[in-house]
């Protein structure tokens, strides 16, 4: 069947989905409370058997701030699909976990929790996976600087001997890169002033 027919078949079956603009595969917006129903229908009735990716996007100043994104692949129809849902709360985002339906989502959701702070309800083991357990921040949020915020190293015996700690990476006012949007700036890209160097403290503005 053709792509257009397949897309209308999906929309007929799951009428709460909204089409979403995309450059390649089918993409739909799904309300967060219907997410589990949607994913189980996609798996059981439309044959999307492989969960390839589960992640999130932080839209920064917009509201709702966080969206969870799932990519599914159907081995029989050879099609991808993208499902995007907005998380309920902007300061303490929550989303339902699909790890019962797709065990692959287990680690992906742990990673999203680690990096964004999105709390997945009914997840079997929601703890940090890429950063160490006691790390206090969620690095991929837009308000977290690239260089990092100084904290303590997780091992007190090493700190005692070496005096090391988690420092901000020395970015010297950088990174020097243009910002988003289609405008052309009048001069070379300015530093984003994401952090302080090790020896200089950022002057109080």
């Amino acid at each position: 069947m053709s792509s257009v027919e397949f897309q209308s078949q999906i929309l007929d079956l799951l009428d709460y989905l909204d089409k979403r603009p995309s450059n390649d595969c089918f993409a739909f917006n799904c309300p967060i409370e219907k997410l589990i129903d949607c994913m189980s229908a996609l798996r059981d009735q439309l044959d999307f058997d492989l969960l390839v990716d589960a992640t999130a996007i932080d839209w920064d100043q917009e509201s709702p701030r966080y969206s969870v994104v799932y990519h599914l692949y159907s081995t029989s129809n050879r099609e991808y699909i993208r499902i995007v849902s907005n998380c309920s709360n902007d300061t303490h985002p929550q989303a339902p976990s699909v790890s019962e339906l797709y065990p692959a989502a287990d680690w992906h959701e742990r990673e999203t929790f680690d990096l964004f702070g999105i709390h997945y309800t009914n997840h079997p083991n929601l703890k940090r996976i890429l950063m160490w357990d006691e790390y206090p921040y969620h690095p991929l949020r837009k308000d977290f600087p690239l260089a990092g915020i100084p904290t303590d190293l997780p091992a007190p015996d090493v700190v005692e001997v070496t005096g090391a700690s988690v420092k901000s990476a020395p970015l010297m006012g950088g990174p020097f890169v243009s910002s988003h949007g289609n405008h052309t700036s009048g001069s070379e890209p300015k530093g984003k002033d994401q952090s302080w160097t090790e020896s200089d403290v950022k002057p109080a503005t």
């Binding site: 950063m131 160490w132 977290f144 690239l146 260089a147 990092g148 997780p154 091992a155 090391a164 020395p170």
Partner: protein
């Protein structure tokens, strides 16, 4: 000829060599450095390539890559050290018996490399005393061998006997 070189005059002494203990100890130590490869990322592949037959680290007596720190002399930190991994690297270093040396191989181990981010330790010298820094991303195996030769030269200049006596006395 520096003072730590072996001197050997067979006409006078026959088969007895009279020299400084430093010369002998340093000669033995520098020609059988057993590395402990702390292979973390891409530089580990170049380390393995230096051990293979094309570049042959065995010419220098270093092909014995001991993964147990208790049996190794030199820790080659090859790859990016993250903050999560830093405590592991330090603990393994602490388990190595004296005398021990550290080689920071590659840009990531020397100074954090191109990963200036929240998760990367900006140089392994924040937690370990480094003897030789090797630059490159990744350094070619020839660069690694050059670094190990510099380490050998550094070992030859050490005052080993003094250190041994001091450690026995204290």
């Amino acid at each position: 000829m520096t003072q730590s070189q072996l001197s050997y005059n067979s006409k006078i002494e026959g088969e007895v060599v009279v020299t400084r203990t430093d010369a002998v100890i340093n000669w033995i130590r520098s020609h059988s450095v057993w590395p402990m490869p702390m292979g973390l990322a891409c530089c580990a592949i170049e380390l393995m390539a230096a051990g293979s037959s094309r570049f042959d680290i065995s010419r220098f007596g270093m092909e014995v890559m001991r993964f147990s720190p208790r049996q190794a002399d030199c820790m080659i930190v090859a790859g990016t050290v993250t903050y999560k991994m830093a405590e592991v690297v330090r603990r393994i270093y602490d388990q190595m018996p004296d005398p021990k040396w550290v080689v920071a191989m590659g840009a990531c181990a020397s100074s954090g490399g191109m990963y200036r981010s929240y998760a990367t330790l900006q140089g392994v010298d924040q937690i370990l005393p480094v003897d030789v820094y090797i630059s490159g991303c990744p350094p070619r195996p020839e660069a690694l061998l050059d670094g190990m030769i510099k380490l050998q030269e550094k070992i030859r200049k050490e005052s080993s006997t003094q250190d041994l006596i001091e450690s026995k006395v204290s």
